[in-house]
Amino acid sequence: MIDVKHVTKRFGEGQTAVTALRDISLTIPEGSFFTLLGPSGCGKTTLLRLIAGFELPTEGEITLDGDSIGHLAPNNRPVNTVFQSYALFPHMSVARNVGFGLEMLKRPKAEIEATIHEMLELVQLGEFASRRVDQLSGGQQQRVALARALAPRPKVLLLDEPLSALDLKLRKGMQSELKRLQNETGITFVFVTHDQSEALAMSDQIAVMSAGAVRQVGTPEEIYTAPQSRFVADFIGDTNIVSATLLGFEGDKASIRFGEGTPLTVQTASTSLKPGAVHVALRPETIDVVDEGADRALLRGAVVDSTYFGAGSQMLVRLDDGVAVLVQVATPRAIGARVGLECDTSMLHVLED
């Protein structure tokens, strides 16, 4: 288990200092596939480098299974990294790359040989042991990088956007491959990505980051269906964010109203919001299109665009208050038509700003 406690990281000094991470606290459970997700510049790679030991925290502490590791050199941490650029040693064979960690740890030759063999089998590159690194394809280099980082049996494996250099088809394959490796080895994986679909597909838990802070931590389902903030809702999937009026709270639910409509009881990210204007997340796949005059219609507007994508169509509806909403439908309405929008109110979610 990794505990990140009140970690702040600043680069530079004085006036020109840049704060990359601001008072981050995070717990990464043992044996989990944990993803740090966020746009570029959010600090996710910096956090990874702090866990690896390539950077030291300006403030705060990092512990691994209770032992403080935040200020150890990288070679003294039982943590290995798969680099974005792989960083395979070009002057060594595949086998020596994989055995490098154990060689540095001065393990017996027989053990090193056995582990190299086992690891290359694990990533299905058994017959490539004596090849030179530059004779491998990008996908194969990726697997060697994985085998090399797993060979010393680290407590934690850090992966820095390892799939970003691969083409789409290879990337899909490697996603399930990574899941399989994590299951088979039981090692904690900390995975950095800016790709929300990758994060949703692979993770046990996701920490969504922006501007040097963790915005939300949860399972992919929690993150997707119950985003706490506008940022998270916006970053994960094609979410519509519409305006509503918060009337008050009923227990842990919120009472809201669209325009002058009837009050609705919906989920909320927080019960400490002030009554008044709030934002509500609305997933496109939970919306139904009805006639404008229908009682069930919660929102009303005009169709401004529609895109056919095979399994259905995506319609863009401009609401009367000017907000554009994406809707998935089987048969689109004509452009310019007035429509009403209805949705399962249990899927509505009031957001913090």
């Binding site: 070679n75 490098f100 540095m104």
Partner: protein, 276 residues
């Protein structure tokens, strides 16, 4: 005149430039003046005649004579001894300097340090030579130490910037991620250097060492002023000989030196190409 100027105005692309008759003619002229004397020297070193202007017959007699000449053999040995030792010391120093200026992080005075290391290349050699002569005389007097060590020290110093350039270039091109990966895989800083940085840096180190060797081998000015009695290097010996006129023997020795230099430079070129 206007026609001459418009000729340049039109020649924006390199292809156009190459087609200008002036350009081609100038290139040939330069090449001829550069290499013709060397070619003549090489050709006449194989001439079976004492004259260096009249060709008679092919012969290796001047090479045999040169190799049997005790003075040439002695000065060649001194040259090689000085060049090899200076190369080893200067390459080690240059490697450490290159590491400090590319891997030591950003610190105050780094740009100044790089400039200071490279500056000797810009200072006229005669100035360095006179300064070294004066400084070494003081040191010799103070310490009472004499011997070839001073000459080796002087060569080491002026070889450092030559060795430094290719090593630093190689290090700047090398991603620091390799060293990070080594540290991540439990290599101590020394192990990371020994197993990752140094092997990857080797083409640059070899190129630097060869440059240093060549520069030391044919140095005249500094050696002339710093070398003590009995420390005559090959270039100094040749210089002494040609005061009495160019002999075929000197041609033969010079040809050997040219061959050695060309071989070194070619090797350096291929080493630097390989690293790309």
């Amino acid at each position: 005149m206007t026609k001459f100027l418009s000729l340049f105005r039109r020649s924006t692309g390199s292809r156009e430039l190459r087609r200008q008759p002036l350009f081609t003619g100038m290139s040939w002229l330069v090449l001829v003046f550069l290499y013709a004397p060397i070619a003549v020297l090489v050709v006449f070193s194989f001439n079976d005649n004492r004259s260096v202007v009249r060709w008679t017959e092919f012969s290796l007699r001047w090479y045999a004579a040169a190799l049997e000449n005790d003075d040439i053999r002695r000065s060649a040995m001194i040259s090689i001894q000085v060049a090899l030792t200076a190369t080893i010391f200067s390459t080690v120093i240059a490697t450490m300097a290159a590491l400090a200026t590319t891997r030591g992080g950003v610190y105050r005075g780094r740009a100044a340090a790089i400039a200071l290391i490279n500056q000797p290349l810009m200072i006229p050699e005669i100035v360095t030579a006179i300064a070294t002569l004066a400084f070494f005389s003081i040191l010799r007097q103070l310490t009472g130490v004499t011997g070839i060590g001073w000459l080796i020290l002087a060569h080491t110093v002026f070889c450092v910037p030559f060795a430094y350039m290719p090593i630093r270039a190689r290090l700047s091109d090398m991603s620091v991620t390799y060293e990070a990966a080594a540290a991540d895989l439990y290599a101590s800083p020394w192990q990371a250097f020994r197993h990752v940085t140094l092997p990857l840096l080797m083409p640059g180190v070899m190129a630097g060492a060869m440059l240093a060797f060549v520069v030391s081998l044919d140095d005249v000015i500094i050696t002339l002023l710093v070398a003590g009695p009995g420390e005559t290097t090959l270039p100094i010996y040749i210089l002494g000989q040609i005061r009495r006129g160019v002999t075929p023997e000197v041609n033969a020795v010079s040809t050997i030196l040219i061959g050695l230099t060309v071989a070194m430079v070619t090797l350096t070129f291929f080493l630097q190409r390989k690293q790309k």
